[in-house]
Amino acid sequence: MYDKGKIIAGLIIFLGLVTLPFFYNKEKASSKPEPSLDTPGIQQMSQPQCVKSADFMRANHMKLLNEWRDSVVRDGQRAYGIIDDVKYDKSLQKTCMHCHSNKKAFCDRCHSYANVSVYCWDCHIEPDN
């Protein structure tokens, strides 16, 4: 093999560069995202609860939102139901964000951790704070 030294040295440098991120982040697990539930809307509730259980929402909120979207836009079914005498509409802006009025500390924390980019906010208006 010609230029053995150069090739092997080059390969070692290449491998080093490629694996650098792994060594760099070794034993430094990035912190788990903690979506905040500290909003005026949630604090007002004596028994904080969502339209579904937290476990369900964590795994399936995107599916629920899609179902809501289709049923509202396509079928005009806007009412979700009544939980503890409170009437809930199928609405991102009016129902979800009414309680979770902290988009940056709630939606964005997980979405940026998981590198998910959603286009909800292209049209839907996020709450003020």
Partner: protein, 256 residues
């Protein structure tokens, strides 16, 4: 298979006859199914609006348009090439081409006419939409699902009333005051009047109707006791470009 000339000619003759007569057989077995939409179907539920021009003055237009645009976050874009229209005004000769003439009533020639999406019974925009983003609801309203719109603008080409606008840019900077209860649209989608479906579902009348002091009447064409049917029974009303066969659901009482 062997076939001689005589048999071939017989078969060819028979198939030609079938081809010519096929249409009438269809008509016999399933009357009215072949011709796509030669007649206006009797309305089941069909949302409709009657615009009584005799009750309008210049301020009323502005009030109606203002009510619509603030309710639905419609941007006010100064560049006419990019403007977004839900409810706007046209001159009589543009709103009703072919109806205008040199000696027509001055009141008509000079005055603006309020125009909007006609929520046609036979909507060409729905037929051309490749993603079914534009669709017809059971109550006759031609609605849009902006989540599905890919911005191809076929619907804009299909609509004979120019009732659709394309968002060439992000509309948000052009909205004076955001209504937090309603979304905006985004760059790259087409939008139009939605007959206030979100208000109707709460039992309210459309925003423009509410702001119009009775000049706009909204109701169900299928219900013979509704306000719109009453207004149409008592007055002569015209529709825009009715010769095109889209069967608009917006009627105009021109008045005396």
């Amino acid at each position: 298979m062997k076939i001689n000339r005589r048999e071939f000619l017989k078969m060819a003759g028979a198939s030609t006859l079938l081809g010519i007569g096929g249409g009438s057989i269809f008509e016999l077995l399933a009357p009215g199914k072949v011709e796509a939409s030669s007649k206006e179907k009797p309305a089941g539920r069909r949302a409709a609006m009657v615009i009584d021009m005799s009750k309008f003055d210049a301020d009323e237009y502005k009030r109606c348009i203002e009510a619509c645009h603030t309710t639905h976050n419609v941007p006010q874009i100064p560049d006419p090439k990019h403007e977004v229209k839900w409810l706007w005004t046209e001159n009589f000769e543009n709103a009703f081409p072919g109806h205008a003439d040199e000696y027509m009533a001055e009141r008509l020639a000079g005055n603006p006419f309020l125009v909007l999406c006609n929520h046609c019974q036979n909507p060409p925009c729905v037929r051309v939409c490749p993603t079914k983003a534009t669709f017809k609801r059971k109550d006759g309203i031609v609605a849009m699902d902006y989540h599905r719109c890919i911005g191809c603008r076929f619907c804009m080409a299909a609509c004979p009333f120019g009732a659709r606008s394309f968002n060439w840019n992000d509309p948000r900077p052009f909205i004076k005051e955001l209504n937090k209860e309603f979304p905006t649209r985004t760059k790259g989608v087409v939008e139009k009047c939605n007959f206030c479906v979100e208000r109707l579902s709460n039992g309210d009348l459309p925003a423009c109707v509410e702001a119009s002091n009775g000049a706009l009447i909204f109701g169900d064409l299928g219900d013979s006791s509704s306000e719109v049917r009453k207004a149409l029974r008592e007055n002569y009303a015209i529709r825009r470009k009715s010769e095109l066969g889209t069967y608009p659901s917006v009627y105009y009482i021109i008045g005396r």
